[in-house]
C-alpha cells in the first residue's frame, strides 16, 4: 500500500520495500519549460545542485526530462537523508564557482550521448516540447542570476513531490526548499499544419510518433504496434534488426507513442513500406486478438512483481505532480484485463490521425497519404531586397518585421516576433531559428547588402534571444569566389630555388620578346606606320612581353619584402 505523507511541506509517497532504501525528489520543470536561448538551464541547475551531494560522480542520480527533473538514489537511510539534504542545500545556494566547469561537462555529455530525436522539433517547432531535439544552446550565455531566477520559479516546495521505497521514512529527513507554486505543464505548440505528416530523415531508419489520449488501451496499442512491427519487419521480412515502440505520458492527459525500425541501406524502401502497412493494418482494424491478449498478459505479469507498488512510485509521484489520474495496481490490473481489440483499434485511429513519420533519406511518404511537413515558409517578408553575389535565383529580403531568403519555389521566413533564437558570429553571420523550426542562415559576404542591415536584424530580434558564437576560422567563412583573397601562404625557404629558376626563364622570354618588339616598333615608326596589321602584331608582341615580365617583377618585389 502506498502511504501519502508530507515532509517539510513536500507531498511524499511512501511504499514499504525490503533492503536498501530508494528515494526520489521530482520537480515539475524540464526542457519543455525552457526557451531556446535558455535551453540547457534545467540540466545545468540539476548538475550544479548535485555537485556537493558527494555522489555527483554518478550521473544517474539526476535526470532532466521534458516536463520533470528527478533526483534519485538507492542507499542506506543516512545516504538518503544526506543526499536529499545536499540537493536541497545545493538548490538553495548553487555552487556558482562550478558554473563554467559544469557547462563544459554538459557540452561533453551531449557529444558523447549521441543524436537526439528530430521528431519533437518537427512536431512542436523550436519551443516547448520541441526543445529536446535541440542542442543546449543556452549554456554559453547563462549567468548566475539566470540560474537563481530559474530555481526560485521552479525548484520549490510546492512544485515538488518526494517518493520513498524502504522499510520506513528515514529519521532526520529534511527538505529545505523555498516556497513557490505548482507549475502546470506547458501547453503544446504545433509546427505541423496537417497530420499525418512526414519528413525525410538523414539515415536509413524509420521513426514514427503519434499523440493519443492517455489510457491503458493506448499503452496496449503501443505494445501491439511493437509486436506487429517486429513480426513483419524482422521475423517475416528480415529487413530490420530492431523494431520497437515506447509509450510516454506527456503529463497533460495525452501520451506520445514512438516507434522505431532500423534498416540496411538496400532494404530501407521495404522497411518504410512495411512500417506504413503495419500502421495501416491497425488503423483499419485488422488487429490480431492474439496480439492484444499477448501484450495484455505481459503487462499483467509485470504487475505481479512482489514490490510492484515501490517500483511504480516514480510514475505515481509524477502523476501527482502533473495532476494526472494515478491507477492503483489493482485498478490497472482490472483495466488491462478489460482492454479489447476494439479499444486498441480506436487508439490506432487516433494515432493515425496525429502521426508523424520520419522516412529514410531519399524517400518520401506522400504516396501513402502523408502530408509533407513544412520545410518552407508560407509567406515572405516585406522589405529591402538584396541579390546574392553568386546565385541569381536567390534573394534576401530584410523588413521591419521579418527576414526572408526567397527562392523560386520556396522561402524561409523568420518573423522577429516568432524568432526562437538567433546565433550570431563576430564576422557578421547570423542564423535565425523561427518558433516553427524554420532556419534562416545569413552569410553577409555572400549578399550585395550594406553591413548595417546586420544591425537591423540584431535589433529586430532583440538581445534576449541572441546566442553569441565564438569566432570562426577565417578559411571556413563563405565568400564569393571572385572576391576570394589570394592570401597565398608565404613560400618556405625551399621555394627559393624554384622561384629563381622561374624568374630566370620568364625573364629570358620577356627579354627576347622585348628585343624583338623594340626594333620592329622603330622600323614601323620610321616607315610611317602605313600598314595597320603591323601595328596589331606589334601590340600583341608588347602585351606578350608584359605578360612574361609581370610575374618576374612580382616575384622580385615579394623577395624584397621577405628580407
Amino acid at each position: 500500500m502506498v502511504e501519502a505523507i508530507e515532509i517539510d511541506g513536500v507531498p511524499t509517497l511512501f511504499a514499504p520495500s525490503a533492503g536498501r532504501t530508494a528515494a526520489g525528489l521530482i520537480f515539475r520543470v524540464g526542457q519543455a519549460d525552457e526557451t531556446l536561448p535558455l535551453h540547457g538551464i534545467t540540466h545545468l541547475v540539476e548538475h550544479l545542485a548535485l555537485h556537493d551531494s558527494g555522489l555527483s560522480d554518478y550521473h544517474y542520480n539526476g535526470e532532466t526530462a521534458s516536463v520533470y527533473t528527478h533526483f534519485h538514489l538507492r542507499g542506506s537511510e543516512s545516504d538518503v537523508v544526506g543526499y536529499l539534504g545536499k540537493v536541497c542545500d545545493g538548490l538553495a545556494d548553487l555552487p556558482m564557482h562550478r558554473l563554467e566547469t559544469e557547462k563544459e561537462i554538459l557540452r561533453t555529455e551531449s557529444r558523447t550521448r549521441g543524436g537526439t530525436s528530430a521528431l519533437p522539433l518537427w512536431r512542436y517547432g523550436a519551443q516547448g516540447y520541441g526543445l529536446p531535439s535541440y542542442p543546449e544552446w543556452g549554456l554559453a550565455r547563462l549567468r548566475p542570476e539566470d540560474l537563481r531566477w530559474w530555481v526560485e520559479n521552479y525548484f520549490t516546495r510546492e512544485n515538488a513531490v518526494l517518493w520513498i521505497a524502504g522499510e520506513r521514512v528515514p529519521d532526520g529527513l529534511r527538505l529545505r526548499l523555498r516556497p513557490g507554486a505548482r507549475r502546470p505543464v506547458p501547453v503544446p505548440t504545433s509546427a505541423l499544419p496537417q497530420t499525418p505528416a512526414w519528413y525525410t530523415g538523414d539515415d536509413t531508419s524509420v521513426v514514427f510518433s503519434a499523440v493519443v489520449r492517455r489510457s491503458t488501451a493506448a499503452s496496449v496499442y503501443s505494445g501491439v504496434l511493437e509486436r506487429e512491427l517486429f513480426r513483419d519487419l524482422r521475423q517475416e521480412g528480415g529487413y530490420s534488426y530492431t523494431a520497437s515502440t515506447s509509450y510516454d505520458p506527456r503529463g497533460d492527459g495525452y501520451a506520445t507513442v514512438t516507434a522505431y525500425a532500423d534498416a540496411l541501406p538496400e532494404k530501407q524502401g521495404a522497411v518504410l513500406g512495411g512500417f506504413v502497412d503495419v500502421l495501416a493494418r491497425l488503423r483499419y482494424g485488422t488487429i490480431d486478438p492474439a496480439s492484444v491478449t499477448a501484450v495484455r498478459n505481459k503487462s499483467l505479469e509485470n504487475l505481479n512483481h512482489p514490490e510492484i507498488e515501490a517500483a511504480r512510485l516514480p510514475g505515481h509521484a509524477l502523476n501527482l505532480l502533473t495532476g494526472q489520474r494515478n491507477l492503483t495496481v489493482d485498478e490497472l490490473r482490472a483495466e488491462l484485463a478489460a482492454v479489447t481489440a476494439e479499444q486498441v483499434y480506436a487508439v490506432a485511429v487516433e494515432a493515425a490521425d496525429t502521426a508523424l513519420l520520419q522516412t529514410p533519406h531519399r524517400t518520401t511518404a506522400d504516396w501513402a497519404g502523408y502530408a509533407a511537413a513544412p520545410t518552407s515558409s508560407e509567406c515572405q517578408a516585406d522589405g529591402r531586397r538584396y541579390a546574392h553575389r553568386e546565385d541569381g535565383e536567390v534573394a534576401l529580403v530584410i523588413g521591419p518585421e521579418a527576414v526572408s531568403i526567397v527562392r523560386e519555389h520556396s522561402c524561409s521566413t523568420v518573423h522577429y516576433a516568432d524568432c526562437a533564437a538567433m546565433m550570431s558570429w563576430p564576422d557578421g553571420a547570423r542564423r535565425l531559428i523561427g518558433n516553427d523550426g524554420i532556419v534562416l542562415h545569413l552569410e553577409p559576404a555572400m549578399w550585395a547588402m550594406p553591413y548595417q542591415e546586420i544591425g537591423a536584424l540584431d535589433a529586430g530580434v532583440g538581445p534576449a534571444r541572441h546566442l553569441p558564437q565564438p569566432a570562426r576560422d577565417p578559411a571556413s567563412i563563405p565568400r564569393p569566389a571572385a572576391a576570394a583573397p589570394a592570401a597565398a601562404p608565404p613560400a618556405p625557404d625551399g621555394g627559393n630555388v624554384g622561384e629563381i629558376i622561374a624568374m630566370v626563364l620568364l625573364g629570358l622570354v620577356a627579354l627576347g620578346l622585348g628585343l624583338l618588339t623594340l626594333p620592329l616598333t622603330i622600323v614601323a615608326i620610321v616607315s610611317g606606320g602605313a600598314d595597320s596589321i603591323d601595328w596589331a602584331f606589334l601590340g600583341c608582341l608588347a602585351v606578350l612581353t608584359g605578360l612574361f615580365a609581370t610575374p618576374v617583377v612580382m616575384l622580385l618585389r615579394r623577395r624584397r619584402r621577405r628580407r
Partner: protein
C-alpha cells in the same frame, strides 16, 4: 484450322474472349453496382479478380461510379480496389508509353498524382484484407510507377505470395520491376521467371514468364544480336519446354491470361523461324491476341497477321 479470314486483324480487346468480363464492363457503364459486386464475389482466384478489375478500369466513368459506392460503404473493399485499378489506367495513360526521357515533367506529375490517389485506396484494401492478391498485385504496379525501389516491390510480392504463391499477374508485374530498365538485373529477372515457372503446377499459365523474360532481353539487343537471340538453341529449348509445361498441357484451361500466353509463345517461335511450333499457338488463339509483344515489331495487328499467315502456311 482458323475460322477467320487470313488477312483479318485479331481482336486485342482483353475482354473479347471472356463474355463475363464484357458483362461486368457493361454493368459498370450502366451503374449496376449489385451485379458488379455479385460478379466479383464469385470469382475463384486472385488472378481472376485482378484481370476483371483491370478490365473494368478501362471503362470511363468508373472513378465516379466506384467513388460514390466507396463513400456510401466506407469499409467496403471492392469499390476501393476498382478505384485503385482505374487510377493505374489513368496514370499510365498520362505518362504515355514513351521512354522516360520523352515524358514531360507535367506528365510525370499527373501520373504520380493518379498513382498516389490509387495507392492510398489500395493501401487501405490490403490493410483491411491482407490476403487480397489483386490489390497487392496492383500495388506492385504502383511501386514501379512511384519508384519505391526494388526492395519495396519485392516486399509487396512476398506479402502477396504468403497467400497466393502462384499468382500469375503479380509475377508478371514483379518481373517488369526486376528487369534492368526498372532498376533490377537480368540475373534477378531470369532467376525469378524460372523459379516461378518451375514452382507453378503443370498446366498453369505461369510459365509464360519464360517467353516474357526472353522477350524483355531481346528488346534490349540491337542488330545481329537481336536477330539471332531467339534462334539460339538454348533459348528456343527453354521456351518450348515452358509451352509444354503450360498452355500445351492437357490439363491447361483457358484461364485469364491464356491469350497473352499463346501470343508470347507464337511470337517467340515466329521470330525464331520455328513456324511449325508457332502455328500451334496461332491456331489456339483463334481471332484473339494480346498487343504485346507484337507492338515491339511495329503495328501490332499487321505484324500479328503477317507472322500468323506465314506460320499457318508453313507450319
Amino acid at each position: 484450322m482458323t475460322i477467320i479470314p487470313a488477312a483479318a486483324v485479331p481482336s486485342f480487346d482483353r475482354a473479347a474472349p471472356f463474355p463475363e468480363v464484357q458483362a461486368v464492363q457493361a454493368w459498370c457503364r450502366q451503374g449496376d453496382w449489385d451485379s458488379v459486386a455479385r460478379h466479383f464475389a464469385q470469382l475463384p482466384t486472385a488472378d481472376a479478380v485482378y484481370f476483371n478489375a483491370r478490365a473494368v478500369a478501362e471503362v470511363p466513368g468508373v472513378t465516379t461510379f466506384a467513388g460514390e459506392v466507396a463513400q456510401a460503404q466506407p469499409s467496403a473493399i471492392l469499390p476501393k480496389l476498382l478505384l485503385g485499378a482505374r487510377a493505374i489506367e489513368l496514370a499510365w495513360e498520362a505518362r504515355t508509353g514513351a521512354q522516360a526521357q520523352h515524358v514531360s515533367q507535367e506528365q510525370f506529375a499527373e501520373m504520380h498524382e493518379f498513382l498516389r490517389f490509387g495507392e492510398e485506396r489500395l493501401l487501405e484494401v490490403t490493410a483491411r484484407d491482407p490476403g487480397n492478391g489483386a490489390a497487392w498485385a496492383m500495388r506492385i504496379v504502383n511501386a514501379r510507377g512511384l519508384e519505391l525501389g526494388q526492395a519495396e516491390a519485392r516486399r509487396r510480392y512476398d506479402r502477396l505470395a504468403m497467400h497466393h504463391p502462384h499468382m500469375f499477374f503479380a509475377q508478371t508485374q514483379l518481373l517488369q520491376q526486376l528487369c534492368p530498365k526498372w532498376g533490377g538485373s537480368w540475373e534477378a529477372a531470369f532467376g525469378f521467371a524460372r523459379q516461378c515457372a518451375a514452382a507453378a503446377p503443370e498446366g498453369s499459365v505461369n510459365a509464360l514468364l519464360i517467353p516474357e523474360v526472353h522477350m524483355e532481353y531481346w528488346a534490349t539487343l540491337r542488330g545481329a544480336d537481336r536477330d539471332n537471340y531467339l534462334r539460339r538453341p538454348e533459348v528456343l529449348r527453354e521456351v518450348a519446354e515452358a509451352a509444354l509445361r503450360s498452355v500445351l498441357q492437357p490439363s491447361f484451361r483457358p484461364v485469364y491470361g491464356w491469350v497473352s500466353a499463346h501470343s508470347h509463345f507464337a511470337w517467340v517461335f515466329s521470330l525464331a523461324g520455328d513456324h511449325r511450333r508457332a502455328a500451334v499457338h496461332f491456331r489456339a488463339l483463334g481471332g484473339f491476341a494480346s498487343e504485346y509483344p507484337w507492338t515491339y515489331l511495329g503495328d501490332a495487328g499487321q505484324q500479328f497477321a503477317k507472322h500468323r499467315d506465314l506460320a499457318l502456311k508453313e507450319g
